[in-house]
Amino acid sequence: MFELSPHDLFAITLSAQVATIATLLSLPVGFGLAWLLVFSRIPGKSFLDGLINLPLVLPPVVVGYLLLLTFGRNGWLGGVLSQFNIQLIFSWKGAVLASGLIGLPLMVRSIRIGMEQIDPHLLHAARTLGATNLGTLLTIVLPLSLPAMFSGATLSFARSLGEFGATMILVGNIPGQTQTIPLAIYDYSNTPGGETQALNLCLVSITLSYLVLLINEKTLRRVRSRQSV
């Protein structure tokens, strides 16, 4: 029997919304960071690289707890934001922050690999023809990184869909407000007789994530075949 309650449907919409916004917001950030790591000559590059990758290897609970300390009502950034009437804790915007941050390393990784494959001769040629730094960035690096950006976006989208640990600490588990698919599944799996509902949402989760990975794989294949031509 496949039946979803209004709260389940809300959780599905919210998950999609949070993952989409988190991905869109982290795209420019990921692009900028990958550019810094590949092309810039700033000092402490490996330190920056490590910092960006931390959310990938840290327990999500740690990320969530640090976010709570920073963006909570009494946190130093939370206090600043509340003056602009922005409240991240216990709101879906906090879920965007948490899942975006957790997905960011995957995004940066993909874009970085794409950028490293750009033929340096192209960049030299652009320079000798008089292109500025910004010009090279916009006319060569950006268009050639697009497939990698797309691939990074799908990965980070999929990761955002599944984010649980950090999200739950920062935004709680409020049905109809901040409860995403994984949080709803957690609730059901801890309820006597909640198996069917948990499994229904698991099915939705598997389908969504699988679709995203399929799209990711397809674009990667297309990129590869274009490169080999």
């Binding site: 300390l69 709680g172 957690y186 609730d187 799996s189 801890n190 006597p192």
Partner: protein
């Protein structure tokens, strides 16, 4: 790799057989963590040859693990519902169950909020509780709110948390004005203070049923540890952490 495989298999066998020597697997509700750590070390001083392996988690998660065949000799639940679930699924014999201890529900928060009666909760803007769907403490809290007729009005202000300790964390950090937690958790709080004792008439008695599982009934060390839990010494350790057995039976 192919040459390494037999060695790995041997190692694996070594690990599993070692685990069977006088080992007792305990599945204990997370709210009992601190008290049980002390109970276990007290028991092990007398019985150094027994290995006690505690698994602390939400009662629901533990019950699910046991019903899926996870090794467990003794189950201590924070909620009679989950014990009943395992009895129904004949993984625990009803004869084996007893009430280990009990607890009560309080509201904690910053001392600046003054609550004189339960209806004063309406003064608070945000109230955390364990998620009423999965956390027993949250279910008791919801029950109290419903019985007092405040639930409809307060529902939009409730912040369901993963477990009681997370609700307590929100209160400690000042993210919420108040949080429903067990008295025993409130005693561990550093900054948050008890603002209100929830009247017992508003919610069911919070009891911690304990039982040997079908597996534990066959394990002499598990039986010995269960007997130890009923001694005055063990009950005294529990009461140091605020767990008092109300003599209602």
């Amino acid at each position: 790799m192919r040459r390494l495989l037999p060695i790995l298999l041997l190692l694996l066998c070594g690990l599993t057989t070692e685990g069977q020597a006088a080992t007792v697997h305990l599945s204990v509700a997370a709210s009992l963590t601190n008290a049980f750590n002390e109970l276990i070390s007290a028991y092990q001083q007398q019985h150094p040859q027994t290995r006690l392996l505690p698994n602390y988690a939400a009662s629901g998660a533990l019950a699910k693990q046991i019903s899926q065949g996870a090794p467990s000799d003794l189950f201590i639940s924070a909620n009679p519902k989950w014990m009943a679930y395992l009895v129904e699924n004949s993984l625990i014999d009803l004869q084996q169950t007893w009430t280990l201890t009990s607890n009560s529900l309080v509201v904690v928060g910053a001392i600046t909020h003054k609550l004189d009666s339960f209806t004063d909760l309406l003064k608070l803007q945000r109230i955390a509780l364990g998620s009423p769907v999965s956390v027993p403490a949250g279910q008791y809290a919801k029950q109290a709110l419903e019985r007092s007729g405040l639930y409809a009005e307060l529902e939009p202000r409730l912040i369901p948390a993963k477990n009681v300790r997370q609700a307590l964390l929100y209160a400690e950090r000042g993210e919420v004005d108040g949080a429903f937690v067990y008295r025993t958790d409130a005693l561990l709080a550093q900054r948050a203070k008890i603002l209100l004792e929830v009247p017992q008439s508003l919610y069911n008695e919070v009891t911690y049923p304990a039982a040997l599982t079908r597996q534990g009934e066959q394990n002499p060390d598990a039986i010995a540890f269960a007997a130890f839990l009923k001694t005055d010494g063990a009950l005294e350790i529990l009461s140091e952490y605020g767990f008092v057995l109300h003599s209602l039976h």
